[in-house]
Symmetry: C2
Subunit: 558 residues, 2 copies
């Protein structure tokens, strides 16, 4: 008897399971049920389809050689039966069968299975707001959303757009709509956008988005949408905003209706609970992708981080286990990246905030550095933040913001965290070096060395946030800029005094020994040199501001 597998969900993880099963067991009978019309499309590419960067709908639904992944493709190439526009309605666990109904038909199908795979994905969260069902209020979750948004844009009927929610999808959609000529405002309830980053790193992203004309309102709650038929505005706790279009981007929740009705166990995050073979509490039912609860590799705790990369990995693991093999999916670090105009924004592991919440005694560094030799054309800055567990010196997390290739450094950081490496080990990593690709000491190695200096007590750092608080409190300290006069002229931090590094040794008399001195420069390498000169000259209260001017998240004087 051939193995009978039914897979519910045909967008990402589901087709992956199907294809891998057929490769492992060509005799298997695999049926995929997909509620929508489209199969196996690249949901992550939707913002780029909206912006026009991806030209055609079919580009998102084709293989790399341009073959559209439709039902005929799955049948011919994979020998997988796909029923699209078919809704799975009920799981009969006792008799191991699924009830389904095709669009427009009234009769039910009963599909028997030996193994069932739930790949039901996620659903966007609709906030309980007055008028949330007005016209021109969208999510950006499926192809139909993208088409509807594109239609409105094509009619030139969306000039003012309000994005509700400043997470990954909100930010990616913002960029797409700015490219389409919209005036975009992000309204975010929390004090920052992109909660995957620490505040000061998110603030750098916000400033960059603002430089592209995006209005960002943090600490702001939406109270209602306005309009009769079409949306025309958004009411918030900080006033009203005009809006021809509203995008709801406050997040997604696992789609667990079928699983819940079948009494499969759900986890505390609301996702389907699975073990590391991706089996649910029913030994004949697996679940993969955005509908399952994940496990954080560092904390061991449940988490919900729906991503296409995870879905694909899980699909393969589930297929192997279903076919009698042994594979496991250990969990995630929460690695993520997004393009925000000219910035690459990436992260992995624990944030400073979450590391502290988990009781880690940590140090952090913010180190701006070039992504390749500074003399090479196209060389760009990356603001790199590392979070390090002080007692073990292990890397806990990392964040990269800036125009340079931060994705590469975050992948290196993800590997270091996975391997449990200390910053001392990371600092010795034999990474590839040539001027077009890296600096001789790659910036993640430099950041690791700065962290080692902090851990070893060689430098006393101070964060930009603490400096700002002390400036605001009119605390008495010397805020020492050691850049060149030209740099100081161009852009200054408030209340700073200038003594260029090259002149510092000869101008020590200008600096009082009894006051605390906070040194900084553009990136704080010269700031560190200055601190060392001052310490050598007997100054005992010297600190260096993390990240210098380029990582200063507050207003500067022009």
């Amino acid at each position: 008897m051939p193995l009978k597998v039914v897979i519910v969900g045909g967008v990402a993880a589901g087709p992956k399971v199907a294809a891998k099963i057929m490769r492992l067991n060509p005799e298997a009978e695999v049926t995929v049920l997909e509620q929508g019309k489209f199969l196996s499309y690249a949901g992550c590419g939707l913002p780029y389809y909206v912006s026009g960067m991806v030209r055609e709908q079919k580009d998102l639904m084709s293989t790399a050689v341009g073959v559209v992944r439709d039902t005929a493709f799955f049948q011919k190439v994979k020998n997988v039966r796909v029923l699209n526009e078919t809704e799975a309605i009920e799981i009969d666990r006792a008799q191991k069968r699924v009830r389904a109904r095709r669009l427009g038909e009234t009769a039910d199908l009963w599909l028997p299975y030996d193994k069932l795979v739930l790949a039901t994905g996620a659903r966007p969260v609709f906030p309980p707001l007055p008028n949330v069902k007005l016209k021109n209020v969208f999510t950006l979750h499926g192809m139909h959303d993208a088409e509807a948004i594109k239609t409105l844009l094509a009619q030139a009927k969306a000039r003012d757009v309000v994005i509700i929610g400043g997470g990954l999808i909100g930010v990616e959609t913002t960029e797409a709509l700015v490219h389409c000529g919209c005036r975009v405002t992000i309204v975010e309830m929390l004090p920052q956008i992109l909660g995957m980053l620490d505040w000061e790193m998110a603030r750098l992203v916000e400033r960059h988005m603002e430089s592209h004309g995006v209005k960002i309102m943090t600490d702001t709650q939406v109270t209602a949408l306005e309009g009769d038929d079409r949306v025309c505005g958004v009411s918030t706790t900080r006033g009203s905003l005009p809006a021809d279009m509203v995008i709801l981007a406050i997040g997604v929740r696992p789609n667990v209706d079928l699983a819940r009705a079948a009494h499969l166990a759900l986890g505390p995050t609301g996702g389907i609970q699975v073990d590391d073979t991706l089996r649910t509490n029913d030994p004949n039912i697996y679940a993969v992708g955005d509908c399952v609860e994940g496990k954080n590799l560092q904390t061991g705790q449940p988490c919900y981080v729906p991503l296409g990369s995870t879905a694909n990995k899980q699909g393969r693991v589930a297929a192997i286990n279903i076919c009698g093999g042994q594979d496991r999916f250990p969990g995630v670090l929460g690695s993520a990246v997004c393009k925000v105009f000219d910035f690459c924004v990436a992260r992995t592991g624990l944030t400073e905030k979450s590391a502290r919440q988990h009781g880690h005694e940590i140090i952090t560094v913010v180190v701006p550095d070039f992504d390749r030799a500074h003399y090479m054309p196209g060389s760009q800055l990356i603001m790199l933040k590392l979070i390090v567990d002080a007692p073990t010196r292990k890397l806990m997390g990392a964040q990269a913001v800036g125009p340079g290739a931060g994705d590469k450094r975050m992948d290196v950081a993800a590997m270091a965290i996975t391997a449990g490496m200390t910053v001392d080990q990371l600092a010795k990593a034999d990474l590839c070096y040539a001027p077009p690709y890296a600096t001789a000491l790659d910036n993640i190695i430099t950041a690791a060395n700065v962290a080692r200096n902090k851990l070893d007590g060689l430098v006393s750092g101070i964060t930009a946030m603490e400096v700002k608080q002390r400036l605001d409190a009119k605390d008495d300290f010397v805020f020492l800029d050691v850049r060149s006069p030209a740099e100081h002229q161009q852009e200054r931090l408030p209340h700073s005094v200038l003594i260029p590094l090259g002149a510092l040794r000869s101008r020590l008399s200008e600096l009082p020994k009894e006051k605390e001195i906070v040194a900084f420069c553009k990136v704080s390498l010269r700031g560190y040199e200055a601190a060392k000169i001052l310490q050598g000259a007997g100054y005992t209260r010297v600190r260096v501001m993390d990240g210098g001017v380029v990582a200063w998240p507050f207003e500067k004087a022009g």
Copy 2:
């Protein structure tokens, strides 16, 4: 008494040691002796200065904020005394002092030290060829070489250039000179350029260089240079080549004259022997950078891999140990990257060849894949090769060739090798994913999965080299192209027959069951699907060609 340190060498590792010592011990008295005029310049950037991509000489000698690192800079900013144009002549180990002489002076200086650091770098190898001292024969090792080459180019006196040696420097220089309008021929004694790669990967680079007009002569020995005053040609075992300029790029050797004269221990590679604190066999003498022998992290054996990245790391380690701290430099993987026209060429760990030489029982995979979502503009292929130890399933080495961002994947591979990860672990790495930066399964994860399939016996691979041998031997097998007719029309492999994947199930009758079938496609994903379909249909002798058409290193039919 302040710590007295003398450092011989002021280009890369030496200044790094000096700066770090002064930060750790501001009381120290550090003197750097540099034979040349220029200090602390980016030697790795010379090819880009020759090509004009880096505009000014001073760009290579400046900090990221444009301050030239001259003797005054070192004195003012670092409090380090630098004597340039000063040659170290002798080490008097008994009395702990160095004899030196400044250019144009006759009197010697005796510099006492508590600790001495040798950072004497490397020297280009001059082959023992007739006429090697003719005019317009250069190396590209120092700033003076770059200036001489640029002068000749500016006079438009170099049209035909022969590069002797196809290693990293030869290849980088080739690109620079092609950009300057030269006709360049590389003459390489070995069967391939870039010995850091396996043959078939190097062949892909050669094909790419040939597409940019470079002539590559492998298995070819230079027998003499021709000319009276200026060079005018190069005689080789395969005939004569016209040449207005010749670049000698057959490699570098550690500069160990001082060390040898002082009876410091040298290693089998000719470099100065150091322990992992970078101390020589004299406890008061350290050595760093291109003059020292390295250790291969995987084999534990001595190696000589002179690189700016290693020099900088070693400089820091030596400084910490000299100042009473404890740090160690564990060794290298031989990670390297270079830009070759539109290709990124990168590698880490053992090659297939070296892994076999070290007795590893290995499997290899060659997997071409896109560096970001294939539907994103700018998405580019990377040909990725992995070398995996079969018994332990650990990643041993990796190579990337192609227009895509291979440097990122090689850094990930370097981390995996450092951590001793299996391909099973690598396949689960939580790497950052978004369409502008990666595919949902990053290509190094896909390659790891292909390797797992091979290790698990799910696919029987065959290399392009083996296929070619069998084609040449007129071996009887079906060379099955499963691409589309359009792809087949555009570019074919010799003696291949076409059955597109989508038609395969219905056209099985065309394929004999008794013959071996070697399936392939563009990248061999469809080839793998085809093999699975055939196996499912009862074909028992089916193999998939590694890497498909894009990784085929031989001639194709247009």
